[in-house]
Amino acid sequence: MKKKNKRFITILISMAFFAFGCTILLINLRENLIFFYSPTEVFEKQIETTQMIRVGGMVKDESLVKKIKTIEGRQLEEISFVITDFEKELVISYIGILPDLFKEGQGVVVEGFLKNVGKFEAKTVLAKHDENYMPPEINDIKSIKDKKI
């Protein structure tokens, strides 16, 4: 009987630990989710400027502009381009080296913060390994789907 009790307590304690671990896991998960929006959704939804989000769409043709900016005495190149879902457009600014497969007229996903209306500051432009690859998120944006068909 005593042995049985001991096992019961062990199981109970392990369960408690597991539940505790899962709670921490889920809380952490909720805090670190990065939501994906299409340009239209960016305009429709209230998005905090402190929240990191992903935005995806097609890079508008001839929208790529490079400007020189001086920050902390260093010259930097600020890249900006427009992404569109053929309904709304969003201006993306980015400082860094664009991924090798970045092209106008192709799909792209950027990660960063929404500044003010219609302006987005990208921290990362997500690269892809294959020029034929289209991120599924972009493929799912309805207006882009319609346009392609």
Binding site: G21, I24, L25, N28, L29, E31, N32, L33, I34, F35, F36, Y37, M52, R54, K66, I68, R74, Q75, L76, E77, I95, G96, I97, L98, D100, L101, V109, L126, A127, K128, H129, D130, E131, N132, Y133, P135, P136, E137, D140
Partner: protein, 630 residues
């Protein structure tokens, strides 16, 4: 002509392996069993698959553009080495390689002399059935011998990112690891219906080690490739595809520890079987995630969703079979009580942490998938999730890793144990002060982790010291464990340095302009135009100076590949034991005198690769040891 022969061989593999599959199904439906020699099937399907693979390789080498895979992934300008590696640089070829490795493991097992004929036959029955499932996947959804007519006279291009020696050898290693777990699955499941004679642990052991070594090298090579080829200055991004390879690695590492106890103490037998099955399931899950394209990943290649459905069915049926067999097992095992402060207890603790890590990473990786199906919301889980959840788990994990090797089998006492390692604890105190003194300006977290890394290395060295002190020879098993643990210590130091302590500068750099990073002066000398065999490259020339003295010229490149009209970045790296100076070059400004340059200083990165080498060496020593003790 050769390619037709290749397809015939592949079909023969399907037909012959179906015998094994049919017998497996029949043996579960009917109590009357007939005997069937699965060894012959194993040998035949291995040679047929090998011939088929050779035919495909030959088609790539002679640039037979009538084959779709060749015309899409290779061209006549391609250097011969990349024509060869192009065989697995595409979906169809890589799955054929997967099949080849699977049949090869079966073949190797059939030559294994220690198992009884009956047990061998049972294992191979399962292994051949797995091969049957994979070969049907190859033929019906991703046939590498598919032709088109009329065919192009010139091919497309092998994805330029893949035209690199690091990536060329990375998939075969990864597959040898992933697929090596198939034989572990087969042995464990066969053992379940065999009443689990204890000797199966001895048969299983070398396969666990060898697969683990290959998977470790595969992951190491993959992140090394990402580090220097992608030009992002990092080696690990918590990307779903990367996580997918880490999951089976973690459970395999848990298995590695458990099987030692299972072999020595004849306990944890059930647990060994569960881990074996789980590891193979996670390998398949990894393949599913990589190949189906259901997850948004920076590593995603173009792929086909119908294949995903097939792999999912494969995954489900193999998991179901494993679980079914486990529930219907006939094993009588004695129960033993384990105290925490003992070698067995510490290894259980290791397993609990390894599995917690696996579970956490699994949730983080597939949660977006559930969210998109259930809530129709598109989300991804960022790197901060993994970092914030893993860090707290690391502390008890490392503590266990340090104390574990000093505990005794059976039962140990905490006070006696601490007394035994009191010199070590004193050394930890000194090391921590030293690390803090050397890095006091850096973030506290980096000091903690570097100190912990040093603790692990030092405690491993202390083990060596103990043996020398008692004038004993170090047993091979212990030596392997020490080597692998030092590897983990180095890995922690390297990963901390190249993540928390990383310094980055991005700017327009004029020709002749010099920049300071860490204690290096980086002078931009200009850009040269270079013509490679199948690309044109713009090569930046940077002079690296330290205290006014030139120590190295670095040449990062931006390559333009003619055939596919694609651009790749080739970073240039100056490595030293203290850190890597890492330069990538971007685009030129309109006035043609300024270039975007991105310069990193990544402290201790080299220790990551050295750590992986130590891990692989430790694994190899264990492997050799498990072979010689038969």
């Amino acid at each position: 002509m050769i390619s037709e022969i290749g397809f015939v061989f592949l079909t023969l593999t399907l037909v012959i392996s179906s015998f094994s599959f049919a017998q497996l199904i029949y043996s579960h439906l009917s109590p009357k069993n007939f005997t069937f020699n699965h060894l012959k099937v194993t040998n035949l399907i291995f040679f047929f698959t090998l011939s088929s693979f050779i035919s495909l390789t030959y088609s790539f080498l002679i640039s037979d553009f009538s084959l779709n895979v060749v015309s899409q992934n290779s061209n006549s300008q391609l250097p011969i080495i990349y024509k060869f590696t192009g065989v697995w640089g595409n979906h169809e070829g890589s799955i054929l390689l997967w099949l080849l490795v699977m049949t090869f493991f079966g073949f190797l097992f059939s030559k294994n002399s220690s198992a009884t004929e009956e047990f061998k036959n049972n294992v191979l029955k399962i292994q051949n059935s797995l091969c049957f499932l994979v070969v049907s996947f190859v033929i019906f959804t991703s046939n590498p011998f598919e032709k088109s007519f009329p065919y192009p006279t010139e091919g497309g291009d092998l994805n330029p990112l893949l035209q690199d020696p690091g990536l060329a050898i990375h998939p075969p290693f990864l597959y040898l690891g992933y697929v090596g777990f198939s034989i572990i699955y087969s042995i464990s499941v066969a053992a379940l219906s065999d009443g689990v004679k204890q000797y199966f642990i001895k048969i299983l052991k070398p396969w666990v080690f060898i697969s683990w070594i290959f998977l470790t090298c595969g992951i190491g090579l993959g992140s090394w490739w990402a580090y220097y080829e992608l030009g992002w200055g990092g080696f690990w991004f918590w990307d779903p595809v990367e996580n997918a390879s880490l999951l089976p690695w973690l459970t395999a590492s848990a298995l590695l520890h458990t099987i030692v106890v299972a072999d020595k103490k004849k306990i944890f037998i059930n647990w060994t079987i569960i881990l074996s099955i789980l590891t193979f399931i996670l390998s398949l899950l990894g393949t599913f995630l990589v190949r189906s394209g259901v997850l948004v990943s920076v590593h995603a290649f173009a792929n086909d969703p119908t294949r995903g459905v097939y792999i999912l069915l494969l995954l489900a049926s193999i998991s179901f079979f494993g679980i079914f067999k486990y529930i219907n097992k006939n094993i009588q095992l004695r129960r033993v009580d384990i105290t925490l402060i003992s070698r067995e207890g510490m290894i259980s603790l290791n397993n609990i942490f390894m599995l917690s890590l696996t579970f956490t990473i699994l949730v983080g990786t597939i949660y977006p998938l559930f969210a998109s199906v259930l809530f129709n919301s598109k989300i991804s889980v960022g790197a901060p999730f993994f970092n914030s959840i893993l860090m707290p788990v690391m502390f008890p994990f490392i503590a266990g890793m340090i104390i574990g090797p000093f505990t005794k089998w059976g039962k140990d006492d905490l006070i006696v144990l601490l007394n035994r390692i009191k010199i070590l604890i004193f050394c930890f105190f000194i090391i921590s002060l030293l690390v803090w003194y050397l890095n006091y300006k850096t973030p506290i977290l980096s000091i903690i982790f570097i100190a912990l890394g040093c603790w692990i290395i030092f405690s491993s060295l202390f083990e060596v010291f103990q043996f020398i002190d008692k004038k004993l020879r170090i047993p091979k098993k212990i030596f392997a464990q020490i080597t692998a643990h030092i590897g983990i210590g180095l890995l922690i130091i390297g990963a901390t340095g190249s993540s928390i302590l990383k310094q980055e500068k991005i700017q327009f750099q004029e020709v002749g302009q010099s920049l300071k990073i860490k204690n290096f002066d980086v002078e931009f000398l200009g850009v040269k135009k270079i013509e490679g065999p199948n690309y044109i490259s713009q090569m930046g020339v940077f002079s690296i100076k330290k205290q006014g003295e030139q120590i190295k010229i670095l040449r990062p490149e931006k390559r333009f590949y003619n055939a596919g009209k694609q651009v790749t970045t080739e970073a240039a790296i100056h490595s030293s034991i203290f850190g890597d100076l890492y330069i990538a070059i971007g685009d030129v400004h309109e006035d043609k005198t300024k270039w975007t340059t991105r310069i990193w200083f990544n402290p201790f990165t080299i220790w990551i690769w050295i750590g992986v080498f130590f891990l692989a060496t430790g694994g190899s020593l264990s492997f050799l040891n498990s072979l010689s003790r038969k």
